[in-house]
């Protein structure tokens, strides 16, 4: 379980807050989507979970322990992270990229290779075809599949995903969303997923946390949020595409 307790983050010594007094719980096995427009603090919140950003105040607990008590490197290796800009290492092959965390964890090379191939198969890339290629030889969708494979390689309990499909075309994005749902069913990971796309949130989420200007507006299941928006902001956010949303929510 991940628990954020009254966390705040300022990058300019208190003149403005990227995240303010945010409390949130991510339950084991659920997919929690942080939804909000750009600059609302959702990515900053995500980065505070694995120590890429340190909260100015408040506490972040992973598995019941404050993040500051964890060895930050071990913590990061134990949490899969899929980056917004994909973030594959351009000088490493696909195999090497996927096996990076196992390598950092000191797995023997043979086991790493086997694992990389399993992971590529999991994200539906043929290991024999893709394993030895360079990231730049892959399409954006293929690269982000590799990004997901890399995040899953060391079998982490948690997966943090920072707008991973934001830069992809609609068809590819949809395919990858379905892939993610399948993987989640197969592996049962706890996922925190950041997006500004309402449809993506509704597609993937067990629960949605809506953020606005650094604050948490509402957290709840899709049905709760659609049926009983807690604030004017949440209501406005979902009102325009409402007809379609109700259709989707009914599924």
């Amino acid at each position: 379980m991940i628990r954020l307790t009254e966390i705040s983050k300022t990058f300019d010594e208190g003149h403005s807050y990227a995240v303010r007094d945010l409390s949130l719980e991510v339950r084991d096995g659920e997919t929690l989507v942080l939804l909000g427009s750009s600059g609302c603090g959702k990515t900053t919140t995500l980065k505070m979970v694995n120590g890429l950003v340190e909260p100015t105040s408040g506490t972040v607990c992973v598995d019941g322990r404050n993040v500051t008590e964890h060895d930050v490197l071990s913590l990061r290796r134990a949490i899969g992270y899929v980056f917004q800009g994909i973030g594959l290492f351009p000088h490493m092959t696909i195999d090497q990229n996927v096996a990076i965390v196992p390598r950092l964890l000191g797995w023997p090379p043979g086991r790493r290779t086997v694992r990389a191939q399993e992971m590529l198969s999991l994200v539906e890339l043929d290991p024999a075809t893709y394993g030895r290629r360079c990231p730049r030889d892959l399409s954006g969708g293929e690269q982000q599949r590799v990004g997901v494979a890399r995040a899953l390689a060391a079998d982490p309990a948690y997966l943090l995903m920072d707008e991973p499909f934001g830069a992809l075309d609609a068809i590819t994005r949809n395919a990858l969303q379905q892939e993610l749902l399948r993987i989640k069913r197969e592996l049962g990971k706890t996922i925190v997923f950041v997006t500004h796309d309402i449809f993506e949130a509704l597609t993937l989420a067990d629960r949605i946390a809506v953020m606005h200007q650094g604050r948490l507006e509402q957290v709840g299941t899709k049905r709760e949020i659609l049926a009983e928006p807690a604030t004017g902001f949440v209501k406005d956010l979902f009102s325009k595409p409402k007809a379609q949303l109700e259709l989707l929510a009914a599924q």
Partner: protein
């Protein structure tokens, strides 16, 4: 800036092999300092090399000692300091030079008295022994074109007093500064020349003959005075002290090998002004070599049959052969110099990389230190090469590869440090964040991500440095570190463009080849 994901390992291997080859070269050509080696020095003009060869060949012929030649050193200061620190064992010095420049006493004109004073002071102050003078007096000679002198009726230096302001003088760098050079001359005669230019000793005779200057500080024993129809003006105020040439030798060596005194006795009083002028002329104008001239002189004296010949390649008679014939005749020596040069360059580059890359990394990590460190390396770069060499020689107190390589390293640092810093600074923040996000430590991020990605830029910096270093390494000759600069400086000293080219062309070719090789490594690293 993108790196091919499947290439860095092979490229790094190539680069490391290239550098390894260089270090091997450096190791092979580095001088061995064994106990039975006698190191003989000379300054950087023809007469000094001939005298150095005479001493060297006599010792080679008549003793079992191994001789190491460190010729063409950049001036009295370098030679004397090297002798005092034991970097050299013997070189031929002139009494007047010792009196005024080393001991810094007042000028005297009596030859015997000067020798006595100098010999005593050297023994007491430096533990150095003067052997008996060879006979000739290589005084500075204020020299003009014979035709010019006839035209104005000049006989003495004093005759120039009224016209000096309209004359341009070409003096050696050493003469410009020595108390028995231009500064003393101005005081003694009370006039200044209108213009003065620092000239290489090998070039000033030609410059005078061609009318580019009107007055030079010739050496009295130089064969070119007669050959170029020049006239030595009489020193009517007896300003110049006597300059009797004699071998100066470390007392410790003489103590261990007393036979050297006997072997060199053949030089005492046997070379008069005319003989020395002829020997110089044979090298400078007839294009023989110091080694050949020295050998002929020794054999003409019947000074014993050789029981060992010189191990040196420089016994060729250059004569007036074409440059191609010269290359053919000196092939072995040329290769040796090429290896020395490559060795100096590669050793300097390895050290510069080992210092420069970590420095670039450090100032990338501690950004506040970057401006300071970058300015420091930039300032280093603006120090003139010869000044740097002279300074480092003074710091180390030894000749040869150590100060030379140090100088080269200091010059090579800037592009390496700058490119390492820039290469790291300009990496995409997304990649850095990904490295942190997957849980790399600072060191892992550096080795696994930052350095491999910055490598093409770092290698480009190494390439720039390497090209500079090949060029600057030609100056190492002035502190006896060898390399292709030996040919260049000898060519200048003897006014022989063929010799200069023999050094300059291979150096340029080496720079081009290394540049291309490193560019290949770069291309290998970079994606098209």
């Amino acid at each position: 800036m993108i790196v091919r994901c499947d290439k860095p390992s092979t490229a790094a291997w190539l680069l490391s092999r290239l550098l390894l080859a260089g270090v091997c070269c450096a190791a092979l050509t580095s001088t061995v300092s064994a106990a039975d080696v006698v190191r003989i020095g000379s300054k950087n003009f023809t007469e000094q090399e001939i005298l150095g060869e005479l001493v060297a060949q006599l010792i080679e012929r008549h003793t079992d000692l191994r001789v190491e030649r460190k010729f063409g050193l950049g001036g009295t200061g370098v030679c004397h300091a090297a002798l005092v620190t034991g970097e050299l064992d013997i070189y031929v010095e002139y009494t007047g030079t010792a009196l005024l420049n080393v001991l810094k006493t007042d000028p005297l004109s009596d030859r015997d008295e000067v020798f006595r004073i100098v010999a005593k002071a050297y023994r007491e102050q430096f533990d150095l022994q003067w052997l008996p003078p060879m006979g000739f007096n290589n005084t500075y000679a204020i020299t003009v074109r014979a035709g010019h002198a006839d035209e104005h009726g000049w006989q003495t230096i004093g005759d120039l007093a009224d016209v000096a302001g309209q004359l341009s003088a070409g003096f050696t760098a050493e003469f410009m500064e020595r108390p028995d050079g231009y500064p003393g001359l101005r005081r003694a005669y009370g006039f200044d020349f209108g213009q003065t230019a620092d000239l290489d000793p090998g070039l000033m005779y030609q410059a005078l003959a061609d009318g580019q200057v009107d007055v030079i500080c010739a050496f009295a024993t130089d064969g070119r005075i007669a050959a170029y129809k020049l006239k030595v003006l009489h020193d009517d105020r007896s300003f110049f002290p006597p300059y009797d040439a004699a071998p100066v030798i470390r007392h410790a060596l003489l103590h261990d090998h007393p036979e050297i005194r006997h072997v060199l006795a053949v030089l005492a009083g046997t070379i008069d002004d005319r003989t020395m002028r002829r020997l110089n002329h044979t090298v400078d104008e007839l294009k023989s070599t110091p080694a050949k001239v020295a050998r002929d002189w020794i054999e003409s004296r019947g000074a014993g049959s050789p029981h060992r010949t010189s191990g040196r390649a420089d016994v060729t008679i250059d004569g007036t052969v074409s440059i191609w014939a010269m290359v053919a005749a000196r092939r072995a020596e040329l290769w040796q110099k090429v290896f020395e040069h490559f060795g100096l360059t590669a050793l300097a580059m390895v050290i510069a990389i080992l210092i420069g890359v970590p420095t670039g990394i450090l100032i990338h990590r501690h950004r506040a230190a970057a401006p300071l460190v970058l300015s420091a390396t930039e300032i280093m770069q603006t120090i003139p090469s010869l000044a740097m060499l002279a300074f480092l020689f003074a710091v180390y107190g030894i000749l040869g590869a150590t100060p030379a390589v140090t100088a080269l390293v200091l010059y090579a640092l800037l592009p390496i440090v700058v490119n390492t810093f820039t290469g790291l600074k300009e990496l995409s923040p997304e990649i850095i964040e990904a490295a942190d996000g997957v849980g790399m430590s600072g060191g892992q991020r550096l080795w696994m991500v930052e350095l491999p990605l910055a490598l093409p830029i770092i290698v480009a910096g190494i390439r720039t440095s390497t090209v500079w270093t090949v060029g600057i390494a030609t100056l190492s000759t002035y502190i006896g570190a060898g390399g292709l600069g030996d040919f260049i400086s000898r060519g200048l000293a003897r006014n022989d463009p063929r010799l200069t080219l023999l050094g300059a062309v291979p150096a340029a070719v080496m720079a081009v080849i290394l540049s291309l090789a490193i560019r290949l490594v770069e291309r290998h690293l970079r994606q098209a």
